[in-house]
């Protein structure tokens, strides 16, 4: 009875789409979380926290050298001069998160510094910067001041310059940058999303039947075991795919925010063909992962056991996703495309780097489908195995 596969699929869909809470946690949440997370990370990375809302930090400085004053005044800091006896007081106000920065230059800093010999026994003149890392504004201006002074120090020993002219030295186009960035980041992110969405649906649906004992009720019906296996894998793949797509959309929407610091990164460089190949890879990978997790779930006694067996594999998947970054020549061989997960990662990497090769992508999709087919067959066998279904 072929219809039974359909009956199983209908039930799984009814379960999933009928439950608002489940829909929210598996569909809306991942995309939303990713969007919020990356957007936030982007704005933090750009270090715009301070200047963005016109915040001016309150800084105190002792013995500020004339020569450095113009540089320090570029920082969003309202500088006040401080005398020796007030130093302790300002440290307290730093502790209380009122002041943001206290900079102590030694007396005659410029003279000592300029006459300082690196080979000399004497210690180099020291600038002391006090701040409060628990206050974001304070931590921010401290970081900026540090960077500024380090750059200044480097320029002092200047024997030669690199790229100090006004021209554009980086010959990479915006498209190259997009490709490099996306091909580094996205395969790993996508793999992680796909894996976690599969884990959120398959154990519940398969180990759950065993935990509740409903598996016996299903298995005493005249339904074929293969109908049950196929129905579960098809429906779970669809659900996991929807969840994966949500994560994907979240990523696509938030990456420009995150990467605007790098400038010129734009997902619209990819063609329709690139997206089609990507979709093919995602689809076949989700089916592969769902089949794999379903098999583990079929052996597990409870949902919890299934989930905890699968969780360490998330890390393994992430590690595999990092492999292309090693850039080894061996990765280009056809044989690599027969290794599940790695094959999808390599293809995604190529697609994002604008180096997609249709035949490699097709081969990967084919390989994934064959593996999934084998695992669906395996799941049928497990449903048939009394040892797996009714173990003690």
């Amino acid at each position: 009875m072929k219809n039974n596969t359909l009956t199983i699929i209908k039930k799984e869909f009814a379960r999933f789409f009928g439950d608002k809470r489940m829909m929210f946690t598996t569909i809306l949440m991942p995309g939303l979380m990713i969007y919020i997370m990356y957007t936030l990370m982007g704005s933090l990375m750009m270090g715009q926290f301070v200047s963005e809302d016109g915040f001016v930090a309150s800084g105190y400085v002792q013995n500020m050298p004339e020569e450095l004053a113009p540089m320090l005044k570029q920082l969003p800091v309202d500088w006040k001069t401080v005398e020796n006896d007030a130093v302790a007081e300002i440290k307290t106000s730093l502790e209380e998160k009122e002041a943001d920065l206290l900079v102590l230059f030694p007396e005659q800093f410029m003279e000592t510094m300029l006459s300082y010999e690196v080979s000399a026994e004497k210690a180099a003149p020291q600038i002391e910067i006090y701040y409060n890392s628990a206050k974001p504004e304070s931590a921010d201006v401290n970081a900026m001041l540090h960077a500024m002074l380090e750059q200044y120090e480097a320029s002092l020993t200047n024997r030669f310059d690199i790229n100090e002219g006004q021209g554009k030295y980086d010959m990479a186009t915006d498209q190259d940058m997009t490709g490099q960035l996306f091909s580094m980041l996205l395969p790993m992110l996508m793999m992680t999303f796909m894996f976690s969405s599969c884990i959120s649906v398959a154990p519940e649906s398969i180990a759950g039947e065993k935990e509740r004992g409903t598996i016996a009720t299903l298995l005493v019906t005249p339904m074929k075991r293969s109908s049950l296996a196929l129905g579960k894998i098809i429906s779970l793949s669809c659900i996991a795919l929807i969840s994966g797509v949500s994560s994907f959309i979240g990523t696509m929407l938030s990456l420009p925010n995150m990467m605007s610091a790098a400038g010129g990164v734009d997902a619209s460089f990819y063609t329709f063909g690139d997206y089609a190949m990507l979709l093919g890879i995602i689809l076949s990978t989700v089916v592969l992962l769902v089949s794999f997790i379903s098999i583990i779930s079929a052996f597990a006694k409870s949902i919890k056991e299934a989930t905890s067996t699968c969780s360490p594999m998330t890390i393994l998947t992430m590690v595999v996703s990092l492999v292309p970054m090693m850039g080894s020549e061996g990765l280009k061989s056809i044989g690599m495309l027969f290794i599940p997960v790695l094959n999808s990662v390599l293809c995604m990497n190529n697609i994002f780097a604008f180096q997609a090769d249709v035949s490699r992508v097709l081969l990967t999709i084919g390989v994934n489908i064959v593996y999934s087919g084998l695992m669906t067959f395996g799941l049928t066998r497990i449903f048939n195995s009394e040892k797996a279904m009714f173990s003690k």
Partner: protein, 260 residues
């Protein structure tokens, strides 16, 4: 009397994992769960398998329900062999245990339709049968309430009804009242008696004497995977209480009633 179930020399051995060996406190690599077990049940009767923990009741019933295969022996369920005609057996039996927990998300209505479809019951027939069951057992008021929100008694009734969507002649019920409170247990036994009235044959397993005395016509006592005695309830009791007789028979067979 028409034979509805004929069990002939069923045997089932399990391989024990190292962990199980520890739990069972044994060095044996295998466990003979059911050992050359035979009995006969008749149409329209309630047959009870009585035995202590680990006697082999669940294993026997699972073999009868074609969920696991016997190592040796066979059983004819309504004339169909559990070894060579499992599909035919499945269409004749309803199988459930008190441990069954239906998916809480679904309503009785949905689950009835779902299992009717899997059993291949024609839609019209399923509809009529559902109406009949739901009316008779008071499920109709709760037909659209999610299982998770039903009382334990109602859940048990729904589980039972779900196992009977294909109107099987034989109902196999492992530990029908195990772990249920007295009121819920009564709901279940009343239900079983009602099914008997309607001409169904019922096989139950239990270690609860009162359940046997209340609903069974015939009883088989299973000790260590073997059928020690099988007769009508009255014949086994010999005028004594079932409990008293059980321990007499047990001591005869094992030599002691102390746990090993």
């Amino acid at each position: 009397m028409e034979k509805i179930l004929e069990v002939n020399g069923l045997k089932k051995t399990f391989k024990l994992s190292a962990k199980q060996q520890k739990i069972e406190k044994t060095n044996e690599k295998v466990k003979v769960a059911v050992n050359d077990l035979s009995f006969t049940a008749y149409r329209g009767e309630v047959f009870g398998l009585l035995g202590s923990n680990g006697a082999g009741k669940t294993t026997t019933l699972r073999m009868l329900a074609t969920l696991i295969k016997p190592d040796a022996g066979d059983a004819l369920v309504n004339g169909a062999s559990i070894v060579s005609e499992p599909a035919k057996v499945r269409s004749n039996i309803g199988f459930l245990t008190s441990e069954l927990k239906l998916e809480e998300f679904f309503t009785p209505n949905y689950l009835f339709d779902f299992f009717s479809e899997l059993h291949g019951v024609p839609v019209e027939e399923a509809k009529k049968r559902k109406q009949d069951y739901f009316d008779r057992f008071g499920i109709d008021k709760f037909a659209e309430v999610k299982v998770g929100n039903l009382s334990t008694g109602m859940k048990q009734k729904v589980s039972l009804v779900i196992s009977l969507v294909h109107d099987p002649d034989i109902i196999i019920f492992d530990e029908p009242t195990n772990g249920l409170d007295v009121l819920t247990a009564k709901v279940v036994t009343d239900f079983l008696l009602d099914l008997k009235e309607r001409g169904k044959s019922i096989i139950v397993s239990t270690h609860i004497f009162s359940l046997i005395e209340k609903i069974c016509d015939r009883v088989g006592i299973v000790i260590s995977g073997q059928m020690v005695i099988c007769d009508t309830l009255e014949a086994i009791k010999q005028g004594k209480s079932l409990e008293e007789r059980f321990f007499e028979i047990y001591e005869d067979k094992v030599g002691t009633t102390d746990e090993k």
